[in-house]
């Protein structure tokens, strides 16, 4: 591979070729020959089966949660609080199934951070949420003005605090004035999430939207010069999500021993949704890059790679299901048995992270570049 497209500009004439142009390979994201792989159907399937339904579901769950919290505000009682909390769970799971998409419309206007301001090691979001509650800031109870505020007070972690944080029990008390404000703030957050999710859906599906950009990859496309590049982006997204789950959500929280565990470093510990959310994250990666996803396009003789993804992720999920069943996250990270289970989960997740940056893309003739993989 010693021929690399080299374009020297002379006399002010500007002509550029895309990566791999010299190899006349218009399907691969790199100049490695991969003519036998039809990337476009893999892109279409990923969009139709994973990405678009994922965002659609997020928008729907958010709209439902906005209605449930509004209902709680209208007439507070234990049943409606439970319904709002149950709705929050569905919303978190919907988000967790699409969290891996860090490109596209979610990157525009800080929508990703608006939905999921995490990690937040300084607790900035919590401070801001508490300040709103303490001052009963009236601009925080209307969706439009809330969306003008910090990204940290209009997404899932903020709504979690409202519904599950200290003082949230008062939400079932119809006579508590402070709880009434808290409820209206929660309803506004749910409404803001619905608006943000709706914007993302619109920017994916509208004319000239991101779906078209990905489906119409090619030389004239401003972002994706080939469908191979799109597939590469999707594989990278799956890998990043698993690495984040492994390193930031699990390893970082469980630390080396049960005594050193830091359960609050993981997201959604207040609502005890940490493990269900992680399982949804892993399930989404499996759907995207597993045998029913992109791995279905692996060339002959490489099918084992898809099977390995499915096997290892199933292993991880099985152990996580056991931890979820054993008790609340905060307690389980310090429980020797669950701690050991969680430590074990790091192994299959690490294996698949390696696979997704190495053998998996290589089997498609794609390269995850050493320098481009994780920037600096």
């Amino acid at each position: 591979m010693s021929t690399v497209a080299t374009v020297l500009l002379m006399m002010g004439v500007f002509a550029l070729s895309g990566v791999g142009a010299a190899s006349a390979d218009d399907e691969g994201g790199s100049p490695l020959p991969a003519a036998s792989i039809a990337f476009k159907p893999l892109v279409v399937d990923a969009l139709t089966d994973v990405l678009l339904p994922g965002y659609q579901s997020l928008a729907e769950r958010a709209a439902e949660e906005a209605a449930l919290t509004a209902d709680l505000c209208r007439e507070a009682d234990g049943g409606r609080l439970k319904a709002a909390r149950d709705g929050f769970r569905e919303l978190v799971l919907a988000w967790s199934r699409i969290e891996l998409v860090r490109f596209g419309p979610a990157r525009d206007q800080n929508r990703y951070e608006r939905l999921f301001f995490w990690p937040d090691p300084r607790g900035r979001g919590l401070q801001q949420v508490q300040a709103i509650l303490a001052t009963e800031d009236s601009s925080a109870v209307a969706v439009a003005s809330l969306r003008e505020k910090s990204v940290a007070v209009q997404g899932l972690p903020a709504l979690e605090f409202v519904l599950h944080g200290t003082g949230s029990e008062a939400l079932e008390d119809a006579t508590d004035a402070a709880a009434a404000f808290r409820c209206r703030f929660g309803a506004a957050i749910a409404g803001a999430i619905a608006v943000t999710a709706g914007e993302i859906v619109a920017d994916w599906t509208g004319p000239g939207g991101y779906t078209e950009l990905m489906q119409d990859a090619g030389a004239e496309n401003p972002l994706y010069r080939s469908h191979g590049e799109v597939v590469q982006e999707l594989i990278k997204a799956g890998r990043e999500q698993l690495q984040l789950v492994r390193d930031l959500k699990i390893a970082n929280a469980i630390e080396a021993t049960p005594e050193k565990a830091q359960p609050k470093r993981a997201p959604f510990w207040r609502s005890n949704l940490t493990v269900p959310a992680i399982r949804a994250n892993i399930g989404a990666v499996l759907a995207l890059v597993g045998p029913d996803g992109i791995a279905s396009g692996l060339p002959e003789g490489k099918e084992w790679i898809g099977s390995e993804v499915a096997f290892e992720l199933a292993q991880a999920d099985e152990v996580l299901a056991r931890v979820e069943g054993a008790g609340p996250w905060e307690a389980e990270v310090s429980d020797p048995e669950s701690h050991e289970d969680l430590s074990y989960v790091l192994i299959p997740l690490g294996d698949i992270v390696s696979l997704l940056e190495d053998d998996y893309p290589a089997a498609f003739g794609l390269i995850m570049g050493f320098n481009s993989l994780d920037g600096d």
Binding site: R107, I367, F370
Partner: protein, 359 residues
């Protein structure tokens, strides 16, 4: 990071490519130095001669980033990649490591640094994450690299910093992106990030000037830079906003003015995928190169006119340094380049983000 030797060999075999055979004896003077990965989870720093042949290597415990070369050309200090916890001093004459040191409690290296004009001090970009401050740590080579002070950089995340040609002014690229070692490399403040290019006085540590891009570009992280012959500072950015935004990625700043982004034909920057990984000036400072490993592209600008004079598509290109009128550069697939030519290729090596010229 698990692109190992085996997979390199496998991927190259699948290309039908053969490693270059270096017949020339590597017995020249140390000319270039760069960090690299040279096996499964194995890292080293390599010193090369003028022809790009490896003179000697030093094994490292973890991945490294950039290197500072002392003005007497006798010492090179290799910095760990962020969040970095080690630096290693190498005697370029004796061809051996002479010291290793770490940042103090509560700080980590960002991966870049430089020597003072007289070589008596070494500066390293550091993160004071508890107070979310950018810091230049000051180290004394004569005292075994004891840390003798620090200077605030006036922004979050100082990435590359350099001593300008007057020998007294420091330019710092405050990338603006907050991270905390508790959460690895996760970006914590993309919605509010505020990068800057700050000039500091080595004598007083004071901020001499602070240059910022317009608010609409607050998500263009200013990270790497080089000084042109006319004294201007050229910088390369990484854009954290929407992929569909069309953003000029390379800029130039002259003291006392506003930073100006350098316009180029849209397709030129589009091929960089909103990411510049390294910036360098050629030997006489008349040309500036910016590389993008993400897009696999290097652009070369005329420093006087701002015109793009060359665009080269090289997969995973990143490390770049001046070489005569042109540039010497490296990629993640084991290749070293001079101008238009591949000098050598070692499929067992991935050259890391930066390469420095020693002489």
């Amino acid at each position: 990071m698990a692109i190992d030797r085996r997979s390199f060999l496998a991927s190259l075999a699948s290309l039908g490519a053969l490693p270059f055979t270096t017949l020339a004896r590597a017995d020249g003077a140390p000319t270039f130095i760069a960090a690299r990965m040279d096996g499964a989870n194995a890292f080293s720093v390599a010193v090369l001669d003028q022809a790009g042949a490896v003179l000697f290597t030093e094994e490292l415990d973890a991945r490294a980033h950039d290197i500072a070369v002392s003005p007497d050309l006798g010492t090179a200090v290799v910095f760990a990649r962020r969040p970095g916890w080690f630096a290693l001093a190498i005697d370029l004459t004796g061809r051996r490591r002479v010291a290793s040191f770490a940042p103090p409690e509560g700080r980590h290296f960002y991966g870049h640094g430089f020597f003072s004009a007289d070589g008596r001090l070494l500066y390293a970009t550091e993160n004071d994450w508890a107070r979310e401050r950018g810091i230049l740590g000051v180290y004394d080579p004569a005292l075994g690299y004891a840390r003798i002070g620090e200077i605030e950089t006036g922004g979050i995340e100082p990435h590359e910093a350099m001593l300008l040609s007057d020998g007294r002014t420091i330019a710092v690229a405050n990338g603006g992106i907050a991270t905390s070692p508790d959460f690895g490399r996760a970006k914590l403040n993309l919605a509010t990030m505020a990068p800057s290019l700050v000039y500091l006085d080595t004598a007083t540590g004071e901020v001499l000037e602070r240059a910022e891009l317009p608010a609409s570009l607050h998500q263009l992280s200013i990270r790497h830079m080089a000084q042109a012959a006319d004294g201007s500072v050229w910088f390369g950015g990484q854009y954290e906003g929407a992929e569909t935004d069309v953003v000029d990625l390379v800029g130039c700043h002259r003291r006392g003015g506003m930073p100006a982004l350098i316009a180029a034909p849209p397709s030129a920057y589009a091929g960089m995928k909103q990411y510049v990984g390294a910036v360098a000036a050629n030997r006489d400072g008349t040309r500036i190169a910016a590389t993008s490993p993400v897009g696999g592209r290097m652009l070369v600008f005329d420093a006087a006119t701002g015109n793009v004079v060359s665009s080269r598509d090289v997969i995973d290109v990143c490390g770049v340094t001046g070489d005569g009128r042109d540039f010497f550069y490296s990629d993640g697939r084991g290749r070293l380049w001079r101008g238009e030519t591949v000098l050598s290729e070692d499929p067992g090596v991935a050259w890391d983000n930066h390469i420095r010229r020693i002489i």
